[in-house]
């Protein structure tokens, strides 16, 4: 997989057709939602993936942040539309808006905080009950760097500090297996495993299905009887397919 970080956008940007060189193949849009307890590193994970960057002590997200990232997998171009939701409890009830129609979800927990896995499990449950039935869910244990640090320092770390792993990899992996989830451990700080999450999701998504359902909406069917009604015809000002609809 190759990510094109120049295509990333933290915010919506104007997309005049002239400034977007037409991609050889049209990117398939994939709606992806990030869920998980507050402060497990959801935003850091996305920023690492999109901006190849890490920032200590980020401000908590309000509602949800939106980012896009294009990546190429197996000759196919995918544009992730990422909804990075707020972990704070008061925003919990907003989550359905963000996972509605999502094709992929990344549920994040903190490997140094056992309770965050419980929260992750409840998100998985909610997704399996409420979200799109074909949704690809990835379970991600983040902050792996803290654990590795502690292991390198060899048992010197004090008991009960956050640098001790509280969620054994085997336990989370077993849970993921039985629930039919992809499973990863990552460090947004170092970047370890981050790209893997998104590229494996990209491979797991039934793209043909998405293509079939989104074609027509974006490109337009040519044998639509409506065209006859248009006196000005279908040959409007804009040629079909001139890269019209996205910033990337």
């Amino acid at each position: 997989m190759s990510t094109q970080s120049t295509d990333s956008q933290r915010e919506a940007t104007p997309s005049p057709a002239a400034s977007t060189p037409a991609a050889p193949t049209k990117a398939v849009q994939v709606k992806l939602v990030l869920l998980g307890e507050a402060a497990v590193g959801k935003s850091s994970l996305v920023i690492r993936f999109v901006n190849r960057d890490f920032q200590e002590n980020r401000e908590p997200t309000i509602g949800a942040a939106f980012l896009t990232q294009k990546c190429n997998v197996d000759d196919r171009s995918i544009k992730f539309e990422i909804w990075d939701t707020a972990g704070q409890e008061r925003f919990h009830s907003l989550a359905p808006m963000y996972y509605r129609n999502a094709q992929a979800a990344v549920v994040v927990y903190d490997v140094t905080k056992a309770a965050s896995l419980d929260k992750a499990k409840s998100w998985v449950k909610e997704l399996q009950r409420q979200a799109n039935p074909n949704i690809v869910i990835a379970l991600v244990g983040n902050k792996l760097d803290l654990v590795q640090q502690a292991e390198e320092e060899d048992e010197d770390a004090e008991e009960g500090t956050s640098t001790v792993r509280q969620v054994p990899q085997e336990e989370a992996a077993a849970y993921a297996q039985e629930s039919g989830l992809l499973f990863f451990e990552t460090s947004a700080r170092t970047g370890d495993g981050v790209d893997q999450v998104f590229s494996d999701i990209a491979k797991s998504i039934p793209l043909e299905h998405i293509l079939a359902s989104s074609r027509g909406s974006r490109q337009g069917g040519s044998n639509n009887p409506r065209i006859d009604l248009m006196r000005e015809g279908a040959n409007g000002v804009r040629a079909p397919g001139d890269g019209s609809n996205c910033a990337c």
Partner: protein, 722 residues
């Protein structure tokens, strides 16, 4: 209660003999009837009119302290208020509140519900409120997710200002490029319309706040239970938030309202009536109507976090720049939005959207909602040609509709009819009897020209009977008991879904003193009717065809004017043409134009009857004469003149930049060189003042100036440099 007593009972504001007692009209009905009252100097008043002997509280105590004394009418007003100037109208909308008023059980409501200060835009929580809140429990279904959580009577109440996320100044600045903020307006039984809070906070003047509150609710009984999205245009010159300058937009804010009315046993009057109002400096009716229709229901279901989430999202949006396209994330959806160029109609053909597979929910032309013109005028398409003339000529128009949504969208569509001519006048997509301009607009004399009002209150039926042009548009939409609209084709013929009392009842059409002069396009009408019958096309496609027809018609109308105007431009710009930025534009002379018009008539189809009717025997000239007298012409001419002078200036600067000064100076005397230098320096200042980001021109001019100075004798050069 019998029907007669629910019928709107209107007291004309025009009547001179008002006294304070008029405000306490005792209802003939045995039940209580809330009365809305207003005067220029009062904030808002609401009397339950239960007794003629009610006392007026000049300095009303906090209403919450009076909560348990239900029949006591509470007044909020300044002591100086001249009650005699006020007028009262019984509000048909609130007749159903009777039941709520009659309840005598103890009423629990958070103190904040109606806490309202004369000047305050935000309310703050009290301690007792918090305690009260924690002691109550109830549950509500959440967004179909089945998630349950405990809430109070009204989760949209602002309990603690500090809980709302603060936007940092730079984030707020980005947010304010798009909009001012969201107002939550409550209809409170005791104080009437009251602003709960604005987020992000902003200081509004009292009268701006008042106008927003009064615009935030339907002015007539629209439905018992349901939602309504509509837009308003509010006079708000004092806030400093509106566009300034000589445009029609100066001094106005645009409001996009999501109004919800639902039964709620926990509220004393038995009804929850609240509005979320998006306030913006931009007339992006297509975009912002969509935004409030997404955010409104979510906010009323889930409360403040929803508002914060939306604002955080909006603050991440770039732009808006004219003619640009944006992908705007909002609440889990990406809206693809096109911003209009000023004074240019937004049509699907010129957008990046595919005409044949448009998704109107997410693919949005910012200036105009999908389907508007066709949707609302489909029963009176024939009248659109006359309406085009009326709007074009700046005639005063009143649009009556059964609901604010239909009303406001119809007006937006009418203004758009004459695009690209900017409408010169004042227009109010939804105008209520409580508007601060009510008494200057609605008088016994003829209305001013260049005014378009949209109304739903049946009161206007009588008050505007003397207006020369009245448009009645739209049919009442029938709703199920849960408030959802029953689609036209699925409606039962039986009268079970009757019109609520006090709504407008009329036959759709235009009543006008003007006879149409332009012929309708019969082929187009036939095509529209046929495609509707066959169900071939989506409403938005037909709407686009219709809008495009009128945009073309306006262009055809403008052709002679544009061509004549082009003759007024200087043919060639020499470097001596321009002095201090003034172009040598010849004046627009109507006699000259009429002569030109005779040789260059427009390709408009005038009615044969008009040709016979025209007094001069020249219908074309007569039509243009009418236009040249109206405000739209003045606006158009000013716009064209500004454009032309800019163009002249640019051509002149370009010429200065391209001139070979070395050669020019070689053949001229010293005094001429100095003269040239002065001209270049003037041009440089002009560009620096008006077009400072144009660095290429500035650099070029500077270079030319340097060349000229170098050719001058040393002594002269020294004196110039100092």
């Amino acid at each position: 209660m019998d029907i007669a007593s629910t019928a709107p009972k209107i007291k004309s504001p025009l009547r001179a003999n008002h006294s304070a007692a008029d405000l306490f009209v005792s209802s003939s009905s045995p039940s209580l009837r809330p009365q809305l009252t207003r005067s220029q100097s009062t904030h808002s008043r609401n009397s339950s009119a239960s007794s003629v002997n009610s006392t007026v509280h000049p300095h009303s105590p906090n209403p919450s302290s009076l909560r348990h004394t239900i029949p006591t009418p509470i007044y909020h007003h300044d002591q100086e208020a001249d009650i005699g100037e006020g007028f009262s109208t019984s509000h048909p909308q609130y007749n159903h509140l009777l039941t709520g008023l009659c309840h005598s059980e103890p009423f629990l409501a958070p103190a904040l519900d109606s806490q309202h200060s004369q000047s305050g835009s935000c309310t703050t929580a009290s301690l007792s409120d918090e305690e009260e809140a924690s002691s109550r429990t109830s549950s509500s279904d959440v967004l179909g997710a089945g998630a349950m959580f405990e809430i109070d009577t009204d989760i949209t109440e602002l309990r603690d200002n500090n809980k709302l996320s603060n936007l940092s100044p730079d984030i707020l600045a980005k947010f304010r490029q798009w909009m001012v903020g969201f107002c939550v307006v409550n209809f409170d039984l005791e104080i009437g319309q009251a602003l709960d809070f604005i987020y992000p906070p902003v200081d509004l003047s009292e009268y701006e706040e008042k106008n927003i509150c009064f615009s935030a609710f339907p002015d007539s009984n629209v439905f018992e239970v349901g939602d309504q999205v509509y837009n308003v245009r509010i006079r708000a010159s004092g806030s400093g938030l509106t566009a300034s300058g000589p445009t029609a937009d100066a001094g106005f804010l645009y409001g996009y309202v999501f109004f919800r009315q639902k039964k709620d046993e926990r509220i004393r009057r038995g009804y929850f009536q609240k509005s979320l109002v998006l306030l913006s400096q931009h007339p992006f009716v297509g975009l912002f109507s969509r935004v409030v229709s997404m955010l409104g229901p979510a906010f009323f279901d889930l409360g403040q976090p929803m508002l914060e989430a939306a604002c955080a999202s909006i603050a991440s949006w770039n732009g808006p720049l004219p003619g640009q396209s944006y992908d705007l994330p909002l609440l889990g959806t990406v809206l693809q939005v096109e911003i209009p160029y000023p004074h240019r109609p937004q049509l699907l053909e010129t957008s990046r959207f595919d005409l044949n597979s448009l998704k109107p929910e997410t693919q949005i032309l910012a200036s105009i909602p999908p389907g508007t013109l066709y949707k609302h005028f489909s029963n009176m398409l024939d009248d659109l040609w006359l309406l085009w003339e009326l709007v074009l000529l700046g005639e005063p128009l009143i649009v009556m509709a059964p609901e604010p949504g239909i009303c406001s969208e119809s007006i937006v569509a009418l203004i758009d009819l004459i695009n690209p001519i900017p409408y010169c006048g004042d227009y109010r997509p939804y105008f209520t009897i409580q508007d601060s301009d009510f008494r200057s607009f609605i008088t016994k004399s003829m209305p001013p020209s260049n005014l378009i009002l949209g109304v739903t209150n049946p009161f206007f039926n009588k008050a505007i009977g003397h207006w020369p042009h009245i448009v009645r548009v739209g049919r009442h939409q029938h709703r199920k008991p849960d408030g959802t609209i029953i689609p036209e084709h699925g409606r039962h013929a039986k009268g079970s879904h009757s019109r609520p009392n006090g709504t407008l009842d009329f036959v759709q059409g235009v009543t006008s003193k003007r006879k149409a002069t332009i012929s309708k396009d019969k082929a187009l009408l036939k095509m529209l009717v046929e495609s509707r019958v066959r169900g071939h096309s989506s409403a938005y496609v037909l709407n686009n065809i219709l809008r495009r027809h009128f945009a073309d018609m306006t262009e055809k109308f403008l052709t002679p004017l544009n061509r004549y105007f082009n003759q007024l431009l200087p043919t060639n710009v020499s470097s001596s043409t321009l002095k201090k930025g003034q172009g040598q534009l010849k004046p627009f002379q109507s006699d000259q134009f009429y002569r030109f018009l005779k040789d260059n008539p427009p390709s408009l189809q005038f009615k044969s009857t008009f040709k016979a009717r025209a007094t001069t025997g020249d219908p074309v000239r007569e039509f243009y004469t009418q236009f040249l007298k109206c405000g739209n012409f003045a606006t158009w001419l000013r716009l064209r003149t500004n454009e032309a002078q800019n163009e002249i200036k640019h051509r002149y600067i370009r010429k200065l930049c391209e001139t070979d000064v070395t050669k020019k100076i070689a053949s001229s005397r010293e005094v001429e060189a100095v003269d040239l230098l002065v001209r270049y320096q003037d041009a440089l200042h002009l560009v620096q003042d008006e077009d400072a980001h144009n660095t290429t021109d500035i650099e070029k001019l500077q270079k030319q100036i340097d060349i000229i100075i170098r050719t001058l004798p040393a002594d002269l050069r020294n004196s110039l440099e100092h």
